[in-house]
């Protein structure tokens, strides 16, 4: 299958204007004994090797990092948040800039989440009705109404390569009755989003919901697929349920999704979560963990995670990780990063974020290399052991 993908890439690479291109997805290898697949996602702004991890650039910036730095540590695609960008700077500003890529200076592939999750989690006074969501802006207090059609139109204005339907992300725990009604509304919203979307250069993803209930996950997946999308997101994960519940809900959801479309596990997760989702057939991930943890001084290394604030690093003149090619490890020691973190210096957030993101980029690269070689299970065991090794 390698040949197919390569030919295809060659084809669009010969075109100087490929902004007309719809996203395509090719599976180029699979791993025996599990559902893992290695693929190539092609967007109007370039190629993404899957499984892929997207750092969160919710407000059109990965906090404390420049786009130049992000590209240099091996990141392929970022995800922004339409809700945050609706409030600030506003879609009219981004549209006037020529779209989100131009606005933020990131020329590679971009995704946007619809912002449904933020409407529910951040807005104290969100009212959800069949029509859509009414909420109060946290910036200027104004009342904003967001229908599913508005969420699509907003994301059309932003112009990301992958965009999401408006959904309701149910909390955990959640009664079966609420989860059912919510999932059914998310389905009706998905139909409205599908109908409202006319821009072929953007891939629209449907979102599977249904909390931890197998019957609801199965219905949600089947009916979302019946509507027909360019890819499928699995939402409502990593919201407080146990890992076992998460993987069961994920497995049920994936069972009904077409093999030839990319699958995106929203908000997942830790390195171990990611590889275990990959083994079940997930292609795309996003999570705030590597950057948020970095800003709190929690650093990922292949020897386990470390807390840079710990006094033991005051005179530890090794890099965070031997042989790591990130800017923090290339130029600096643990002792220096400890010092920067202790004086509450923004450069610490920058360097630790870039290190953790580079760790995730390497993690995904190792996962992709393992797929097809029969080595994925071994890597999963390594990450399982690694998880036990975190510094207390």
């Amino acid at each position: 299958m390698q040949q197919v993908a390569d030919d295809h890439r060659t084809a669009w690479r010969t075109s100087t204007d490929y902004s007309f291109l719809t996203m395509t997805f090719q599976i180029i290898d699979t791993e025996p004994g599990c559902e893992a697949r290695r693929g190539v996602l092609e967007t109007a702004h370039g190629v993404v090797a899957t499984p892929a991890f997207m750092p969160c650039a919710s407000r059109a910036v990965v906090r404390a990092c420049t786009c130049e730095q992000l590209a240099a540590v091996g990141l392929q695609m970022l995800i922004c948040n339409a809700y945050h960008l609706l409030l600030r700077p506003g879609p009219e500003v981004i549209a006037a800039a020529g779209g989100l890529h131009q606005f933020m200076g990131w020329q590679g592939p971009l995704a946007t989440d619809s912002g449904g999750y933020q409407v529910f989690s951040l807005s104290q006074r969100a009212q959800i009705t069949e029509q859509g969501v009414q909420f109060r802006s946290e910036v200027d207090g104004s009342e904003i109404f967001l229908a599913p059609e508005d969420a699509v139109r907003l994301q059309n204005q932003l112009g990301a390569d992958l965009i999401m339907c408006l959904d309701e992300c149910t909390p955990y725990p959640c009664e079966h009755e609420y989860a059912r009604a919510s999932m059914e509304m998310t389905l009706r919203w998905a139909r409205r989003c599908r109908q409202a979307h006319h821009d072929d250069s953007q891939a629209l993803f449907g979102i599977v919901q249904g909390s931890v209930y197998h019957d609801l996950r199965a219905r949600s997946a089947r009916e979302t697929v019946a509507i027909g999308f360019d890819g499928y997101a699995i939402g409502g994960l990593s919201v407080g349920e146990s890992r076992r519940e998460m993987f069961e809900a994920l497995e049920t959801s994936l069972q009904y999704l077409p093999l030839d479309k990319p699958r995106y596990a929203m908000g997942v997760g830790t390195p171990l979560d990611i590889i275990e989702c990959v083994q079940r057939g997930v292609d795309i991930f996003d999570c705030v963990l590597p950057t948020r943890n970095a800003r709190h001084g929690s650093v990922l290394t292949w020897g386990g995670s470390i807390k840079i604030n710990n006094a033991r690093y005051r005179d530890d003149f090794r890099p965070l990780e031997a042989d790591c090619k990130c800017p923090a490890c290339t130029h600096h020691t643990r002792a220096y990063l400890h010092h920067l973190f202790r004086i509450n210096e923004a450069t610490a957030w920058t360097l630790l974020s870039l290190h953790n993101l580079h760790f995730y980029a390497r993690l995904m690269e190792r996962i992709r290399q393992a797929i097809g070689s029969g080595e994925l299970q071994k890597l999963q065991r390594e990450l399982h052991t690694w998880t036990q090794r975190d510094e207390q």
Copy 2:
């Protein structure tokens, strides 16, 4: 004179270990009609073209910037602060790292200030006696005593290429009697510093004080030169006096300094201050302005300074400055930087700091190019007009 400097550089460049080198200073051109000189300062960690500007890396970091980014925008030498580093991380940590260059990952030339200024300005309960300064640590409340000999020993441990005597920086306004007594003590401290300094790889600078009084400035300069230093700093400037008072105090100080040693105007200043000091014969500058102003959203351009927070930049899709090669202007628009600044994002501080520092690097480059060509006065007039043009 160009030949002399070039031969000298070739000589040390052929040596693989030049850590034994004392700083040397060669004047390679002068400007007719004023005292300006273009020179080459050679240190154990590389060459600095003068006149040069040093950004403040007081706590071993230029706030919100990485060393890699600083080198990329054209900075030659940084200045750290021995007082801040004494408190955190402590000189024993930096010595164990192999010195300040190794500790912070900056391989180019470095200077340290003794920290006398900070002892007086930051420490509520500093007591100055003939023996030295007693103050309370702002980190852990402990009592610390710093004699002139301690300040030298501390800077020897840090290992910067240029180090400063301990001095008292008098406030403004300051009675003649206080300024005289203080200046005389600074002279006695300078003798003690000179005696305590035995590391030939570090250039020790004496500091001229004397507030705004010509008699005191003249005595301070003459007697500091009589002690004999590798270079001379002019302290007590930019502390609240008028520009006229500053330049008169500076002129008197410079009049008694040897032509063949580098002169450093501490804490100066704005672009116009800098070029007017250069015209009077100053070689080295440091100032927090470009970085502090950047963090407050004040941006330098050759068309005048702008406040990025201003609503007019919300949809201004031009770079901060056309043709600027800094990372902010290469990749981003005013609208994006406005957005980042409005959401209080550290990446805004990074990008605006790098832009302002690159502006200063270009300013110094333009000044150096003008020296010897008879064009310096024209550049001074341009900067004078430019100063009037700041956005209100």
